[in-house]
Amino acid sequence: MEPGQGGLRSAFSLAGEWRGKMEEGKAYSPDGVFAHLEMLEARAHEAAVKQEEMEEQEEKLARLKARVQELRLQRDELRAKVDLQQKGQLGKEGVVSDPAQPSARAVLEWKIKSVKAMLQIFYLTGISGKLTKRGVCFCISTAYEGTYLDSYHLDLLTKAEVQIHRHSVPVFIPLEQIAKKYLQTDIRRFLSVLSDHLNAYAGRRYQADQLQDRFSDRIEGTLQRNSLCNLLVFNYNVSRKSKTFPFNVRLLYGDLCCSLPTEVTVSCTPDAPASLAETAAAHSDLFRRVALHKAFRSFSSAEGSVDGAP
């Protein structure tokens, strides 16, 4: 080290100057910035190494602690098993029940599951509801003879007087009329009547759809229907002794809460044989009592047997 020269040199802080000095091997002056930096770097490196070692130690410690916990737990379980065995439950071949006390978490999960199941049952009954901030939201589900069909919702406000805020009921269902009669006075009756209307409509529509889908070959021309499916007019073929005769039928569903017709008119062409009049009357009676698509199914099977007879 040449202190004298270092002192002079420190006045010049140009990088090039220092680089030059390094080459000359004169960079290690006590005043040098580089030296300082290098010293700091070395210190940091040492500290980092120490830190790493400490962390490793801590990790190891934590792992060992966890292992201790595990082993303790295992020991407890085995102890419990031994106790149970000693209490004479050897009958159950090795299948030992869980510790008698279910955890709080398991209880909570079971409670949630049973509440969800209860809500699902309510939904399946056809009328279910949920309280909202301003009132109640009801859900009316429809079904017909075991098949679940559409659901409709009603958002009611209950703060001042009961009002329908929004709904998804089809526009041809007489909702306003039913609401005017029952909504303010007897909400249960309102829901019940509305549910009857919706279920009957769903049932009528289901029958008409089934007829069109499954018995389209027996229907001549188009099936005339309307939005409420409460008036159906169509022609269908009846075969007797390998000849087909067209029947015209008009089904009027006078009661909107009913999925069976109130008025049935079955007519055949004037030139049809007299025996067909009986058939027409029989069909008319059947339509009044039985679902439309089921009636048709019974025709097909009945005709099979009639034609088969000599």
């Binding site: 279910s128 526009v171 309307n226 939005s227 409460n230 008036l231």
Partner: protein, 346 residues
Amino acid sequence: MDVTVAEYIRRTVLKIPRDEIKTMLQKWGFLSETQLQTVNFHQIKENISQDVVQLCEENSADIKQAAALDIIYNHIYPNKRVWSVYQMNKTGEETEFFDLTDFKKKFKRRLRSALKNVTINFREYEDNAIWIRIAWGTPYTKPNQYKTSYVVYHSQTPYVFISVSVLKSNLPLLCQALVVASNYHDIREMELRSHSLNSLKDIVFKRYSQNFQTYYPRPLQEGNVAPESGDLRIIQENRNEKERIQRVNQEVFGDGPQPKLEFAQYKLETMFKSDPKMDVLDEKEPFRCLVKFSSPHLLESLKSLAPAGMADAPLSPLLTCIPQKARNYFKIREKKGFFPGSFVSP
């Protein structure tokens, strides 16, 4: 065959996109399959239409068949017309049976009793929709087949969809005939208009997706769950706010697609409230102003405003009430009384 009918059929065929002509003619059912085989559907439309007219000559088409073709065209391309919604009401409580033949008879009789020169054609569709095409004439001239109005009516509903195009003077007559035929008492025009007929139906028949609160578990929608993959070094700073906006949006607009409307119009008749020192129209008379929002799909764009960061959620109820109130034309007047602000006219 009448020359006017031939020309009308020719022009109708020209309107149809070339690839659709064959299917539409098959739907029409007036020309047999063998006849259709003889037409080359790859030539230019001008020639196709001439060939079709030639075949119609052979079958002696009359105006009824030509009108049927026109209805089919408009049923497949209803969005080329502007549809308005009308609401009928009645005071009676009898159950409606709706006999289709009865409806058609009453409608024709009422309309023809007032104006002899009209062409009326009906066509029914699977979804209980009845399409009525009316070509208007005057007491002294034959019906002009190019000046037509269309009416779409679903039985046992109080709503009628009308596309008038021209000759608005015949509208009262048309409305009267509808009221009589469907057993209602009166009819009024709703403030709801759009090109998309199906969206108008969705709005008034309440077929669009509304978000109702239920306990019944709905199927989880994968789209709502943001994928966790991605650079873990990137942190969403306002994740809470984003989730709040999503939730509010879903409550207001529901999960499904929105009905398609092209515009919403707000006519302001409110007072201009300015700084008293400025003395600009200071509460002297209402400030007349018309605000019109237009978009190829207005409700979808409103739904995406808040998630895109362009508006605060929840949006103004004036915008979000459109499907529920079934209107897209509003008049906003001053609310007189205690609370300043505006209220929407019924």
